[in-house]
């Protein structure tokens, strides 16, 4: 698509508006871009009227060479009647004007309902073949690579293509990776003025393949690394009370309410309390198996349940990491400690804070004070890491682990 747009920019007149609908995120901005490119303006505040009014005043120049190019055109579907107006512009302003829409989605996804605008001529841009990508990489090789190293560069291109093409088919990105890895690739070759033989090139490729972790990482860095995001969003700046509340919210969201007593009560027979049927014990066939809650997402839970789970968790936490828990000094009697904790204004304040920073999502109207419901908004890895910091294992409190 980028190559198509580059071609259009070269082939079309200089005053042709190229509107990127990611940048122009509403009808008004699209119209502004179009009118300013043509050097005209319309009277009305309504974008469609303004467009028609502005373009109707167009005169001079070759009227058959007027174009409007809109990229990522599938976004126009949410811009009201703008697409219909654009497609009917030649009729409305009574002057030839060619509209070029580019999109990675078929026209059927943005076609106005009831055939309100004429269908355009569809041109399918074929996917770039491997050979074309290779040609592109070779054509755009770094200028400082001499003719003698051409075959080495070709070997690098082939290696990059064979190892990354399954993940990435963007020629520009592959070019960036190739340029970035060239110094590392050629580093073992000391005599830069000499021409490496075929065997030398194979040796360079083999050496590079052993140290190409950085290359793969550079590809992956363009994708959202979920684990990195999680690490970044680990709520280390929260109070210990808030962190424990977060763990409690996770358990409340992913455990069935009926199993709370079994999973969180303090009993002498821990094995009996912690018994969970394995998924194969349930006796359901795979066809009818309901997926685990941690695959389907968090469920709503009530405020009271959250507090009770929090209170129960305090028992386990106080047993294992009592010394690290420094909220107050009431550590001798765990019952007193727990009851006091639950009643504290601090807990409520922490809940309000968690809700405000969206780590716990409030799922009821903000004006409701009775029967408030919440939903956990952190993932398993965050909750598990938090639990570790309290010296407990999260999966011991989860009913269904898949």
């Amino acid at each position: 698509m980028d190559f198509t747009l580059d071609f259009l920019k070269q082939a079309l007149p200089r005053n042709t508006p190229f509107v990127d609908s990611n940048e122009a995120y509403n009808a008004r901005l699209v119209v502004e871009r179009v009118l300013s490119a043509f050097g005209v303006d319309g009277d009305s505040t309504n974008p469609i009227e303004r467009l028609i009014d502005g373009l109707s005043t167009l005169n001079g120049g070759d009227s058959s060479k007027r174009f409007i190019v809109i990229s990522d055109a599938h976004r126009l579907k949410s811009y009201g009647n703008l697409l219909i107006a654009l497609q009917r512009l030649p009729e409305i302003i009574n002057s030839p004007l060619t509209l070029i829409l580019t999109s990675n989605q078929p026209y059927t996804t943005l076609r106005p309902t009831n055939g309100l605008s004429p269908d355009p001529i569809v041109v399918n841009i074929p996917s770039v073949t491997h050979k074309d990508i290779l040609d592109y990489l070779i054509l755009n090789r770094p200028v400082h690579i001499g003719e003698n190293l051409h075959n080495s560069y070709l070997a690098l291109c082939n290696f990059i293509m064979s190892s990354t093409l399954a993940l990435n088919t963007q020629p520009k990105e592959l070019l960036k990776i190739t340029h970035k890895s060239w110094p590392t690739f050629i580093h073992p070759w000391k005599e830069l003025s000499a021409r490496p033989s075929m065997r030398d090139n194979d040796h360079l490729t083999l050496t590079f393949s052993k140290i190409s972790k950085g290359v793969i990482q550079s590809i992956n860095s363009s994708l959202p690394d979920h684990m990195d995001l999680l690490q970044a969003s680990l709520p280390t700046d929260l109070t210990r009370c808030a962190q424990l509340l977060l763990i409690a919210s996770y358990l409340a969201s992913y455990n069935p309410p009926k199993k709370d007593i079994q999973m969180l009560s303090i009993s002498s027979d821990k094995r009996a309390k912690r018994y969970r049927p394995r998924r194969r014990d349930i006796g359901l066939s795979k066809q009818n198996k309901k997926p685990a809650q941690n695959l389907l997402g968090p469920k709503n839970f009530s405020f009271d349940r959250w507090l009770h789970i929090y209170g129960s968790l305090l028992h386990f936490v106080s047993e294992s990491t009592l010394t690290t828990y420094s909220l107050n000094n009431l550590k001798n009697d765990s019952r007193v400690f727990t009851d006091n904790e639950l009643g504290q204004v601090d807990v409520l304040q922490n809940i309000a804070h968690l809700s405000r920073i969206k780590m716990v999502q409030r799922t009821c109207p903000s004006d409701r004070l009775d029967g408030m419901t919440f939903k956990c908004a952190i993932g398993y890895h965050v909750a598990s890491n938090l639990a570790k910091s309290f010296g407990v294992k999260l999966h011991e409190f989860l009913w269904d682990i898949s």
């Binding site: 469609i48 058959s64 009729e91 026209y107 996917s127 990435n168 997402g297």
Partner: protein, 502 residues
């Protein structure tokens, strides 16, 4: 030499493929030797493409005795009554999509040349409120020489008071659209003494305006003869029940004159239309008169040959059987005509067939050809889930499905990293993709609309975790199976997985 070649390909053998090739060669040789076809071809392209793209009606449209021709004739009569005799008329042109309603109206307007008049075009899909429609009418009247100073005052008034605002004291020439559409309209129509023809495209959408005020006022003006210069209201719609949508007071002011337009209903009429669309236009170019004549003769002969060609006939038949849609026919014809060059001025039937294939509505299926492998794996995982009667899924669910499959199939630990040591054989090594790569692939699929969000937008906006946003797959099983078979770069295990559901 040219004459020899022409003799070697007699007309009687045109159905023979070899002879067709010979004719094409002789044409090309003519181009090279005798004539520069750039000027005649430019005339042809300009005229035909302008028609195909709907920029103007072809001269002589509607003189072929068809239903459309009758409609144009009737419509012309109605318009003449308004333009020449100052009558008030209203008429509704009804026909399906792409049958030529707009073309019929344009042809009728073009056939009323005797006296100057002001045509006003409004589109129901663009001018969605009465206010917009009135402003557009003002603009068009002004552009065609009408004096609409009062409309400027009207605009100011509306801006100050808002649509529903009370207007207290009206200065001279000031009207309030919100309060009185009729007054505004009358002022508009009085802005010029010339006859006015108002064309309302998508008439049924105007009927959806509040209280049908614009329609009521227009039809009332037309019926009551409240305008001296003459007024015609022409509506076009594809809804056969458009008149039933009108309120009683509006319907009673409509003349009930309904004209029908339809696509050619017989194969012969369809062929006639196609032949006419490709015929060389009447052009007067003194400078290139000789070349023009020669090119016209050859072009007409080429069109005749096209109609004898089985491939071209197949294109026409498919268009006739499936759509019988005139714009679709024009779209198919436009591509070879636009691609013609002076060196290859006569597009063969094969190009028309290719153009037809490219204009067929495409599925999302072809997108699968360019998808990266992790995205293909997720599509297959989504289908595996839907085979268990779960038609919506989250990212976590497809990720788990993929993870389970990878454990079963590859017998490798599904650690969240790529096996860097195995880079010498990358095809095997990258079969187990880490979670963040799959997340990127999932986003790609959502971006391409292959995975369609089911969660409401408000839920996502209010902070729903994207791993748990529910989606459904837009692809059918057959499409995925075909794509998997077509992709040559799939690892064998993934290929088998793509075939493993019922």
């Amino acid at each position: 030499m040219t004459s020899k070649r022409q003799r070697s390909s007699p007309p009687g053998r045109l159905h023979n493929k070899k002879s067709r090739v010979a004719v094409a060669v002789s044409d090309d040789t003519d181009d090279a030797e005798d004539a520069d076809y750039s000027a005649p071809l430019r005339h042809l392209q300009r005229s035909l493409l302008a028609t195909f793209y709907g920029w103007h009606a072809q001269p002589g449209d509607g003189d072929d005795g068809s239903e459309t021709a009758g409609t144009i004739s009737d419509l012309t009569g109605v318009l003449r009554g308004s333009v020449e005799h100052g009558e008030g008329n209203s008429v509704l042109v009804v026909g399906g999509r792409g049958t030529g309603k707009t073309l019929a109206v344009r042809s009728a307007l073009a056939a009323v040349p005797t006296r100057r008049f002001i045509p006003i075009h409004l589109h129901g899909s663009v001018h969605t409120t009465d206010k917009m429609a009135l402003r557009e009418m003002a603009r068009q009247i002004r552009a065609q020489g009408g004096t609409v100073t009062s409309l400027d005052a009207l605009q100011l008034q509306v801006d100050e008071n808002g649509e529903g605002g009370e207007s207290t004291e009206h200065p001279e020439h000031t009207i309030d659209i919100g309060q009185s559409t009729l007054t505004a309209l009358l002022t508009l129509l009085a802005a010029s003494a010339l006859p006015i023809v108002v064309v309302l495209d998508e008439f049924d959408l105007f009927a959806a305006h509040a209280r049908q005020a614009l329609l009521y006022c227009l039809l009332d003006c037309a019926q009551g003869g409240r305008r001296r210069g003459g007024l015609a209201v022409v509506g076009t719609t594809c809804r056969f029940d458009a008149v039933d949508m009108l309120e009683k007071r509006v319907k009673s002011r409509f003349s009930q004159r309904i004209l029908h337009v339809s696509s050619p209903r017989t194969w012969t009429a369809w062929c006639t239309l196609a032949r006419k669309s490709l015929s060389y236009p009447h052009v007067e170019d003194v400078a290139h008169a000789k070349q023009l004549d020669k090119f016209k003769t050859q072009w007409d002969a080429h069109v005749e040959r096209l109609f004898d060609d089985t491939q071209f006939e197949l294109v026409l038949k498919m268009l006739f059987d499936m759509l019988a849609d005139i714009p679709a026919l024009y779209r198919v014809f436009a591509i070879p005509i636009a691609n013609a060059t002076p060196e290859k001025a006569f597009p063969p039937a094969k190009e028309f067939l290719g153009a037809y294939a490219s204009q067929r509505p495409t599925d999302t299926f072809y997108l699968l050809d360019t998808l990266p492998l992790p995205a293909i794996a997720l599509v297959i995982a989504a289908k595996q889930i839907s085979a268990r009667d779960m038609h919506t899924f989250t990212f976590e669910l497809v990720n788990k499905e993929y993870d389970d499959w990878a454990r079963r199939t590859i017998y490798a630990p599904t650690a969240a990293s790529v096996d860097m040591n195995a880079m010498t054989n990358p095809r095997i090594a990258i079969s187990v993709w880490p979670r963040h790569i799959l997340m990127g692939a999932f986003d790609t699929l959502v971006l391409l609309n292959l995975f369609i969000p089911v969660s409401s937008a408000s839920a996502l906006a209010s902070g729903e975790m994207r791993e748990y946003a529910t989606h459904r797959c837009a692809l059918e099983n057959g499409e995925i199976r075909q794509a998997v078979e077509k992709r040559r770069d799939l690892p064998t295990s993934l290929y088998k997985w793509g075939h493993s559901w019922n």
